[in-house]
């Protein structure tokens, strides 16, 4: 039954007039019905700002932590109209929770929840911490998709309120990591070890970029590193695809991937089999 009050009006909007955390998060997108970012049907919340500068990044507009506007074209019945799109939006914890709560029925039916992604959500540590506390109260399953390049103390604080990590491993070689992702990988690997020792559920996400990280030595090093962990963590191979290219054009960010190809299906399968044969539960995509 709908809680419809009065003759016409249906004033059943849940509003929070007061919330003890006056801080804001900067979010650049919220995707409902995300089914490849953790178990069940999820709401993936994309945080703005990232410590990495991966060449293949699908969301270059997420790198800067600022809200900015870009021009865009709308097409209405075949006619172009100039318009402006604002990238990034401020949310209070209460506002974001309102969005999250809208999908609780889907989380419950599917064993889903929210996934904080980005960018790097943990750059907005205070906000994420407050948000996760509220989600815990509501028994919402939480997942964080992280670069891992974040202060370890903060990460561990967050971990106690997080059900699952999607942890990106981009390259095992430090020099290569610096070249292609803009930072060294020491902290990332350390953090993965810490989360593992803590007994957290972790899904490894491996963006497979031909010519950058698909060489055998990298794959072997990755397997070696992962096999030494306390738990065996499932691996998702995310094959590189070029759909993000137009975003570089629109945002005026230098696109460095010209000349790089999407991996052939055969090659992806071959790599998946390598992981599988080594005893890892491996999947392609999500």
């Amino acid at each position: 039954m709908n809680p419809v009050a009065g003759k016409y009006s249906a004033k059943y909007l849940i509003t929070y007039n007061y919330y003890p955390f006056p801080m804001h998060g900067i979010i650049f997108d919220i995707k409902n019905f995300a089914i490849h970012d953790g178990p069940g049907i999820r709401q993936t919340i994309f945080f703005k700002g990232c410590p990495l500068l991966c060449w293949w990044c699908h969301n270059p507009e997420s790198r800067s932590a600022d809200i900015f506007s870009i021009e865009k074209e709308e097409i209405i019945d075949g006619v172009k109209v100039r318009d402006v799109e604002t990238i990034g939006k401020k949310y209070s914890v209460a506002e974001l929770l309102n969005e999250i709560k809208k999908d609780i029925v889907f989380f419950e039916e599917s064993g889903g929840g929210i996934t904080l992604s980005g960018g790097e959500p943990l750059l907005q540590y205070d906000f994420v911490l407050a948000l996760l506390k509220e989600c815990r109260k509501l028994e919402i399953h939480t997942c964080i998709d992280t670069t891992g390049n974040i202060n370890s103390d903060k990460l561990l604080n967050i971990a106690s309120l997080t059900n699952l990590f999607l942890f990106d491993l981009k390259h095992m070689d430090n020099d290569q990591h610096i070249k292609y992702a803009g930072v060294n990988n020491k902290l990332i690997l350390k953090n993965l070890k810490l989360l593992d020792e803590m007994g957290k559920d972790i899904w490894i996400r491996f963006p497979l970029i031909p010519g950058i990280n698909d060489d055998e030595s990298n794959l072997l090093r990755m397997m070696d590193f992962l096999s030494k962990r306390k738990s065996s963590h499932p691996i998702s191979i995310l094959p590189y695809h070029k759909i993000g290219k137009h975003k570089y054009e629109r945002t005026g960010i230098d696109f460095k991937m010209n000349g790089f190809q999407e991996p052939a299906t055969n090659d992806v399968t071959k790599i998946m089999n390598m992981f599988t044969d080594a005893g890892f539960s491996t999947s392609i995509g999500g």
Binding site: Y12, N32, F33, A34, I35, H36, K102
Partner: protein
């Protein structure tokens, strides 16, 4: 599918739809006869039925297992001149129109010219209706405020219950005798009328038995001539089945199917009822026969499938009788809306899914036919496995099966005052319409154009496209100061037009009851025999009249646009906005961009917009729900368009949501095409804010990319979406699994995409058979992928 089925299926698919004058000539012959004049109206109808079944050609095709055709051959479609007389011009249009055509040969044309038209002109039910109906009804009808289902097709729209799978017509004749013996001429002033009706039912029962025997005779003849020993035996067996059913209750799986099929042919020969007719809960009705025979070893799974597939083909042989005029626009399709129900709950409330349910799902997948359409009933008691099996078929992209919420259907029926057992034996038919199967006459009276009424409200009762005053004076909207004033005026106009519609329906119902009773259909639906009352006159246990609201999504966006742009943000003056709509937004691209891309819209789980959906829904509901109809039941609402959202759009000018004049409206309770931008969960949430449990069905369409359902996770997620929507009391959801690219490609090169089937609204159709406007409308619907 085996060779026989493959051949029969191909034969059915390749048959050319054509008009057959056979029925028209037979009924004309009967009505011309002196014999006809000596009987009461019900008996006359029964004798006409008998005359047709005694004389119509018998069609038995090579290798058929289930026999009986309405016409002389597959897709030879009869006409019903006593109801709706096609003119020579109509026949020409049917023959030559580029889509949904029916071939008309010279013989048919000359039969119409020389015999049928001269006799029936001036005597048809349609003419009776239009001669008596009010002028303001005509004005509203012509302006496109509503349509009328019963002006050229009979008030069918009912579904067979389990009774007829346990009884034969000889049993019914005994019940008629008992009912006649119980007539109380001392106290009941209707006793004579009832007597005549019961006698008519008895004639109709004998007629269908005779019709089956004619098939038996023909089968025996064919058996004698048959050289193939196997087929010879088969024909002899079929002959003996036709001698047994439908006179007696069926005892085997094959008998049950043949029994139903004779009933089906009877119903669609007697008159041309809306939504043909329907066996309803097929897996429930057939399971006892299946179980018994499988256990006894007289039936195999392969034979079960073969028989079911032969049965499926029979439905496909029977296109909807050709419509004309507005009725063709509101429902332009060959599909005749038989909707097989699977799953749900049993009469005692327990999980009804059985082994046969899964076999029938296999048949649906393998046959991939538009007719019969199919749906699954999903109760909280059914397993995910069942839904997932259906999802695998949905994934193949022909729009079937659609998915219904059994628990909501039961609550809807209980809300309407039905017994719990009758509610649990119910389901959905046609597109999405709730009904108690075997016990209810539930009539769809017409689509109701909520957006047109709003347009009339904007202009103080005047239809701006004609300048004619057809509504009430409720003031010029551009002078209104807040949204409540707008809603108040709209409510007054809705009530006014609902009054007109209800009054019209009451007149039309009486015309049908008086002139065209249906003694054969009355045999099938409880409690017509017991009450001695015709199906068209309140004989059924429950009698519901539905009005179908259309344009919820569009109108929500219109009101939200006014609320947001005029009252809250003050982006534009009300007058300026109304004038822009009158100018069809000429040179107003920037304004349209604001209205389309920067205004809250229904379908995004945004209460700011969805509150208007609830208001509109409640206004419509309050205007209709619970009004008495003339057959002892009530008016109710449901929210479905078939294809009327295209027709209704074509009579409605530009609207404050940025929609251009004459473009289609939103369909069902789906968001306006492309307005939903937050994915399927947001659509389901928005759609669940209206009170589904007070409707007799709502229709929600979703377009998914095939990629979404490629893997297990995608299929599981579909199951979870369905469960969540149903937990929120959603009534129905259906899926188009096709990419926009595919559709555009098919539009460009129809010849390469003859097999492309899409979900329209409550039914599937060949993409090529749809009008261009409707094709475009489907293309514009938002396409959901997973992330």
């Amino acid at each position: 599918m085996n060779k026989r089925i493959k051949k029969l299926r191909e034969q059915s698919q390749n048959a050319e739809p054509r008009i057959s004058a056979e029925r028209a000539l037979l009924i004309t012959e009967f009505y011309k006869s002196e014999l006809c004049q000596q009987f009461s109206v019900p008996e006359r109808r029964a004798l006409a039925f008998n005359h047709i079944l005694s004389n119509k050609s018998i069609c038995i095709l090579d290798d058929e297992l289930i026999v009986g055709e309405r016409g002389s051959a597959p897709k030879a479609v009869p006409t019903y001149p006593e109801i709706n007389l096609h003119s020579l011009e109509d026949l020409h249009i049917l023959d030559t129109r580029p889509k949904v055509w029916f071939r008309v040969d010279d013989e048919t044309r000359s039969a119409y010219k020389n015999i049928v038209i001269p006799f029936w002109k001036g005597l048809t039910n349609r003419e009776k209706i239009f001669s008596i109906i009010d002028n303001n009804w005509i004005d509203a009808y012509e302006a496109g405020v509503f349509t009328e289902f019963q002006e050229q097709r009979a008030p069918g729209h009912t579904v067979l219950g389990k009774k007829m799978f346990t009884k034969g017509f000889l049993d019914l004749k005994k019940e008629i005798d008992i009912s006649i013996a119980g007539l109380d001429y001392l106290n009941d002033k209707k006793a004579y009328t009832k007597h005549e009706e019961l006698k008519a039912m008895d004639i109709a029962a004998s007629a269908i038995i005779m019709f089956a025997n004619r098939h038996a005779d023909e089968l025996d003849k064919l058996a004698q001539k048959e050289v193939d020993e196997y087929r010879k035996i088969e024909l002899m067996q079929m002959a003996s089945i036709c001698r047994k059913v439908p006179a007696n209750a069926p005892e085997t799986f094959h008998e049950a199917l043949q029994h139903y099929w004779f009933i089906h042919i009877g119903v669609i020969t007697e008159v041309n009822p809306w939504d043909s007719f329907n066996p309803g809960r097929l897996d429930q009705h057939l399971y006892p026969f299946y179980r018994k025979e499988i256990d006894e070893g007289t039936l195999t799974k392969e034979r079960t499938i073969e028989l079911l597939e032969a049965f499926w083909i029979k439905f496909n042989n029977h296109p909807s009788p050709p419509k004309i005029g507005i009725t063709a626009k509101e429902s332009s399709t060959y599909t005749d809306f038989a909707l097989i129900n699977l799953g749900g709950v049993k009469e005692d409330g327990s999980d009804a899914v059985n082994e046969l349910t899964f076999i029938i799902l296999d048949v649906i997948e393998e046959m991939r036919l538009l007719q019969p359409s199919s749906m699954i009933q999903v109760s909280k008691k059914n397993s995910d496995e069942f839904i997932k099996r259906a999802a695998q078929i949905i994934k193949t992209g022909f729009g079937q099966p659609s998915v219904f919420n059994t628990d909501a259907i039961i609550q809807q029926l209980l809300y309407q005052g039905k017994r719990i057992e009758d509610a649990r034996n119910g389901g959905a038919s046609g597109c999405v319409e709730t009904g108690a199967f075997g016990t209810e006459c539930y009539i769809l009276t017409g689509y109701f154009n909520l957006v047109k009424i709003f347009e009339i409200t904007m202009h103080n009762g005047i239809d701006p496209s004609t300048g004619k005053m057809i509504g009430l004076n409720t003031g010029y909207m551009s002078e209104f100061k807040d949204l409540n004033q707008v809603l108040d005026a709209f409510e007054k106009q809705v009530n006014y037009f609902v009054d007109i519609k209800v009054k019209g329906t009451n007149i039309i119902d009486q015309i049908w009851a008086e002139n065209l009773p249906v003694p054969f259909l009355s045999l099938l639906i409880d409690d017509c025999i017991e009450k001695g009352t015709d199906y068209n006159n309140g004989g059924a246990r429950y009698n519901t009249s539905y009005i179908q609201g259309v344009g919820l999504g569009s109108l929500t966006d219109i009101l939200t646009s006014i609320r947001y742009n005029v009252f809250d943000e003050k982006n534009i003056g009300f007058k300026e906005l109304v004038n822009a709509t009158l100018a069809n937004f000429e040179n107003q691209l920037k304004l349209r961009n604001k209205l389309i891309n920067h205004t809250p819209k229904y379908g995004n789980d945004d209460d700011y917009a969805d509150e208007q959906a609830v208001s509109i829904f409640n206004i419509f509901l309050n205007a209709v729900d619970g009004r008495p109809n003339i057959v002892g039941g009530h008016f109710r609402i449901n929210m479905l368009p078939t294809t009327s959202h295209v027709y209704f759009g074509s009579v409605t000018g530009a609207t404050p949501d940025g929609r251009l004049a004459y473009k289609p409206l939103s369909e069902g309770i789906s968001p306006f095409q492309g307005a939903d931008r937050k994915g399927p969960t947001a659509v389901l949430k928005s759609a669940s804010k209206i009170n589904h449990l007070k409707t007799g069905g709502t229709l929600l369409n979703q377009k998914f990319t095939p990629a979404l359902l490629e893997d297990e996770k995608g299929l599981d997620s579909l199951v979870h979406l369905i469960r969540a929507y149903f937990r929120l009391d959603g009534h129905h959801i259906q899926f188009n699994v096709v990419t926009t690219k595919q559709l555009l490609e098919a539009q460009k090169h129809p010849e390469d995409h003859k097999d492309l089937i899409v979900r329209v609204a409550g039914y599937s159709d060949y993409f090529n058979d749809l009008g261009e406007e409707l094709q475009d409308e489907i293309i514009r619907r938002s396409e959901h992928g997973g992330y």
